[in-house]
């Protein structure tokens, strides 16, 4: 029997493998309980995988972001056509990292009277009445895994036009991702303007 002695050395790795499977099946961290944020905390008080599921992970890998659906059909086009400036609503763009989304009160200072009978404005009024802010969805969001710390103020101070990154807002209703803000986009502009190319300028 030429194979009889072979069996002995097959048994060893197989035993280890079987043992591994056994431990895997019995380990407290295995199983399918890891869906949703609340389930995470129940399974392990400290650690979870980086993504909720394989699909999530794949979407993040290919930098696929969901298309935002806004609660109000806000129209930038109309506002800008009526002579408003970007900074009238996005008030902190010149001073801080975030441009700032106007509060529901700011909307209503004008819309108390202007176009108050329109359906969408009534929705805003309703938010105000309930004491809620409008749940705007982010349009230009970086995936958290790219660890970009973008700051608007230095860019405005350097004279970068809003439209450079956000497209021509006079033609947009709700904001859409007009420009693909990938690293190549940032870097080529930084190169042009002789801005810092140090990684840690943006990633920290």
């Amino acid at each position: 029997m030429p194979f009889s002695s072979q069996r002995k050395w097959i048994v060893a790795p197989l035993g280890v493998g079987a043992l591994g499977l056994l431990i895997y099946a019995g380990s407290p961290q295995s199983g399918a309980q890891r869906t949703g944020e609340d389930a995470r905390a129940q399974v392990s008080p400290v650690f979870t995988p980086a993504h909720r599921g394989v699909l999530d992970a794949i979407r993040d890998f290919f930098n696929r972001q969901p298309v935002p659906v806004q609660p109000i059909a806000f129209t930038h086009k109309v506002h800008l056509a009526n002579g408003m400036q970007c900074t009238d609503c996005h008030t902190t763009v010149e001073t801080g990292p975030v441009a700032g989304i106007p509060s529901v009160e700011l909307c209503m200072t004008c819309h108390q009277t202007i176009a108050a009978d329109k359906l969408e404005i009534k929705k805003i009024a309703a938010y105000q009445a309930r004491g809620e802010d409008i749940p705007w969805q982010r349009v230009y969001a970086y995936s958290p895994t790219v660890h970009v710390k973008f700051n608007h103020a230095p860019h405005i101070r350097a004279g970068v036009d809003c439209a450079h990154c956000h497209g021509n807002m006079t033609q947009q209703t709700v904001a859409v991702r007009a420009v693909d803000l990938n690293m190549g986009y940032c870097v080529s502009c930084h190169r042009q303007k002789k801005a810092s190319l140090d990684c840690i300028t943006c990633h920290f």
Binding site: V187, L197, D198, C199
Partner: protein, 182 residues
Amino acid sequence: MKAVYGLYSDPERAQRAADSLRAAGIPDRDITVISGEPLEEFEFGRRDHRTPMPWLAALGGVLGGGSGYLLSSLTQRAYPIPTGGMPIVAQWTNGIVTYELTMLGAILMTLVTLLITAGIPDWRAQLYDPAVSDGYILIGVINPPDDSRIEIERRLRESGTAAVKEVVLRRRFGSKLQGATG
């Protein structure tokens, strides 16, 4: 396309057949020789022995090394990551990449040269006989002139083969590797 060939059980006879065909005025390049193992000890097995392959391999090495050096040094310049007082283009370490790609270039060039000069892969029907794998040596002529066919057959047979075969080769991709025997 037609071919005439004989199968020889030992290289001495094959050599005699080849010599005989040559004596009949058939140029060397028209005589097909096929064997199941290299027959370097025989004149007919040493045909086309000269090849620039070593030089081409060296050229491949130079090309590979050059691209390796350019790859490493140009990319270091393309996005000059600060290195804290150390050089942006690090020649010593780039040497390692250059070295590996030199060898890779030589290996790939050898491989490509082999495939092209040996005429593989080529799955079309060609003059061949599976008896080669039983240790026979095939000596044959592709598309012999009609007037000298009898003469070729005679010479092949005289050199000591059991059977002279005639085949029709169908030049069709993916057809059987040997034609029908006649």
